[in-house]
């Protein structure tokens, strides 16, 4: 299992960051869990008890094949199937930017979980800015779509997200900004491609 985990961490450095924020044995809800690889990784490495939420039929099947709990549901309709405060962590990994009701889902995450963990591509990365400056919508490693076929409708920069959190009573506990496998600590909003936030309700 260790071997699989380490190769997975190499393949998906974002998994390692999320895992580093999660206490072993905790209760985890992974929203938009895809084929369940992250949750499976967290189960195998940290012994978490978790559920994934996913809408896509093929992903539901993949989750069952991966042996994780998955609930087929549309995140846009909220998390009414989940009791308040029933999870330690609610994860939304690279899904926020594709959601229609951005505000609602973040509030729902904090209703259902003690802490929220979010990752999203940073629209403020210099390559994105440059492409816009040159007159085009950005296409990059973290934003691999053309303007006409992108599922991403709510893109933001680190500054935008932090302003949003501040205004909505969301207290950021921790932030990690990455460019590939490299952690960015200087001018993050300019050099960071992928952002990770751990947050909670403001006391």
């Amino acid at each position: 299992m260790t071997k699989l985990s380490s190769s997975l961490t190499l393949l998906r450095p974002d998994f390692a960051i999320i895992a580093s924020w999660i206490k072993p044995g905790s209760k985890v809800l992974d929203l938009g869990c895809g084929d369940g690889t992250l949750l499976q990784y967290l189960q195998d490495t940290l012994g978490v008890h978790g559920y994934g939420v996913e809408i896509d039929d093929a992903n539901i099947l993949a989750c069952l094949n991966n042996g994780i709990n998955v609930i087929q549901s549309d995140l846009e309709s909220g998390l009414s199937g989940f009791e308040s405060d029933s999870f330690d962590y609610v994860i939304l990994s690279q899904t926020l930017q594709a959601m229609r009701r951005t505000e609602d889902i973040i509030q729902e995450m904090l209703r259902v979980g003690r802490e929220g963990i979010i990752s999203f591509p940073n629209f403020g990365h210099w390559k994105n800015r440059l492409q816009v400056l040159l007159g085009h919508m950005p296409v990059s490693q973290t934003l691999p779509y053309e303007w006409f076929d992108t599922p991403n409708i709510h893109l933001c920069t680190l500054n935008d997200f932090e302003k949003f959190c501040h205004q909505r009573g969301v207290h950021v506990l921790e932030r990690r900004v990455m460019n590939g496998t490299r952690q960015i600590t200087f001018s993050s909003n300019f050099f960071g491609m992928l952002a990770f936030y751990r947050f909670t309700r403001r006391k």
Binding site: D57, I60, C63, L64, G67, I71, G81
Partner: protein
């Protein structure tokens, strides 16, 4: 047999239980016979048994065919067999006929030895709670401490849930398909119309039609026709029959005119020839009474507090008899108890009956889940 993957020829078996069975109603069944079929081999650890619970009109003949009647194919033959989603090369599958049924287990059409005549109206009302008790007794006889899985659709799904609630240690996984945690008023209303059709048939004779040498065919036929409508979706009926006529022009009378009329009458007739009217009453009543939350102030989560099994809950998008919303309330109760559960809403056009049909995605989901069950 066209189905090369079928388990092939199967033989029903029968066990006589002479320890009295106390029923939820307070009545006692002094003794009873339980008919069942098994497919595959029980492993040395006795840990690979899968119990299949049947729906309203089902029985123990779940897969395969009978040597003397190769046309009598098990009702879930597309799901169960070698290399099928519930793989009989891996699992020891047990199909059971509920008591109160009319396919061999003791029911209203059986002879009450005490009285020397058919039970008829004397057969007590049985519930999923009573059936769960009989499943445990059968498991004891077969040497199965814990089922690897209990699987069922519709009323069968409810029976699977009931066993997981009443005998938590005996169920490792429960696969609950196209079911609900309780019936709605509309569900009960449909059931009551069906019952009224039977009960008001002059040939019913208060349930003792056996001694009168009659069968309440008209009532049973109507009950089945009504039921059948609720098992299909508007779309699937439109697709299959539309407003198609049997002849070229309108006949301006009340004979069979539209294809859907012809189809429903055929289904009704076929059913009335095979099924026992008293059993139909009992099965619909078992559906109506199923409500695990009743003793918990309508709190389903509290009702599931004692459950230990892992669950797979499946619903079908076009099922309006037991809609996906009903399955989601089961899932909610399981989540509230932090039980392992997966839930899928399967896109379908065939209504409640979808659970019996061969659909690739549906079967892949069941296969994936069953593959992960360690035996």
């Amino acid at each position: 047999m066209h189905d090369s993957d079928s388990i092939g020829i199967v033989t029903p078996q029968r066990i006589h239980f002479d320890t009295p069975l106390s029923l939820e109603s307070g009545a006692v069944l002094d003794s009873y016979e339980q008919v069942y079929e098994t497919y595959g081999e029980l492993n040395a650890a006795r840990s690979n048994a899968v119990l299949v619970c049947h729906a309203l009109s089902g029985n123990h003949h779940v897969a395969g065919v009978y040597a003397d009647n190769p046309k009598n194919i098990g009702w879930w033959n597309n799901m169960i067999g070698p290399d099928k989603p519930i793989d009989t090369r891996k699992f020891f599958v047990v199909g059971v006929n509920n008591i109160g049924g009319c396919h061999g287990s003791t029911g209203p059409a059986s002879i009450n030895k005490k009285m020397g005549k058919h039970y008829g109206a004397d057969f007590p009302v049985v519930t999923t709670i009573d059936w769960a008790k009989t499943y445990v007794r059968l498991a004891d006889k077969l040497g199965i401490d814990q089922f690897a899985a209990v699987v069922g659709g519709s009323l069968g799904g409810m029976s699977a849930m009931q066993l997981a609630l009443d005998a938590p240690e005996r169920v490792r996984h429960a696969v609950v398909i196209a079911a609900a945690a309780k019936l709605t008023a509309q569900n009960i209303a449909f059931n009551d119309v069906a019952r009224q059709a039977i009960i008001t048939d002059p040939d019913f004779h208060g349930g003792d039609f056996y001694s009168h040498g009659t069968i309440p065919r008209r009532g049973l036929r109507l009950a089945r026709m009504l039921g059948h409508i609720t098992y299909l979706s508007n779309d699937s009926m439109a697709e299959k029959f539309g407003r198609e006529l049997r002849t070229d022009s309108l006949s301006f009378n009340f004979d069979v005119e539209f294809q859907i009329e012809s189809y429903l009458r055929y289904q009704g007739d076929k059913f009335a020839d095979q099924f026992d009217a008293n059993t139909y009453l009992l099965m619909t009543k078992a559906l109506d009474y199923f409500d695990p939350a009743r003793d918990y102030d309508d709190d389903l989560s509290a009702a599931f507090h004692c459950a230990k099994a892992n669950f797979l809950v499946l619903s079908f998008s076009s099922d309006w008899r037991f809609s996906p919303e009903r399955s989601r309330s089961i899932v909610k109760a399981l989540l509230d108890n932090k039980l392992n559960v997966s839930y899928a809403e399967i896109p379908s056009r065939h209504g409640h009956d979808s659970f019996l049909m061969k659909d690739e995605h549906y079967h892949q989901l069941v296969r994936a889940y069953m593959n992960k069950i360690s035996t």
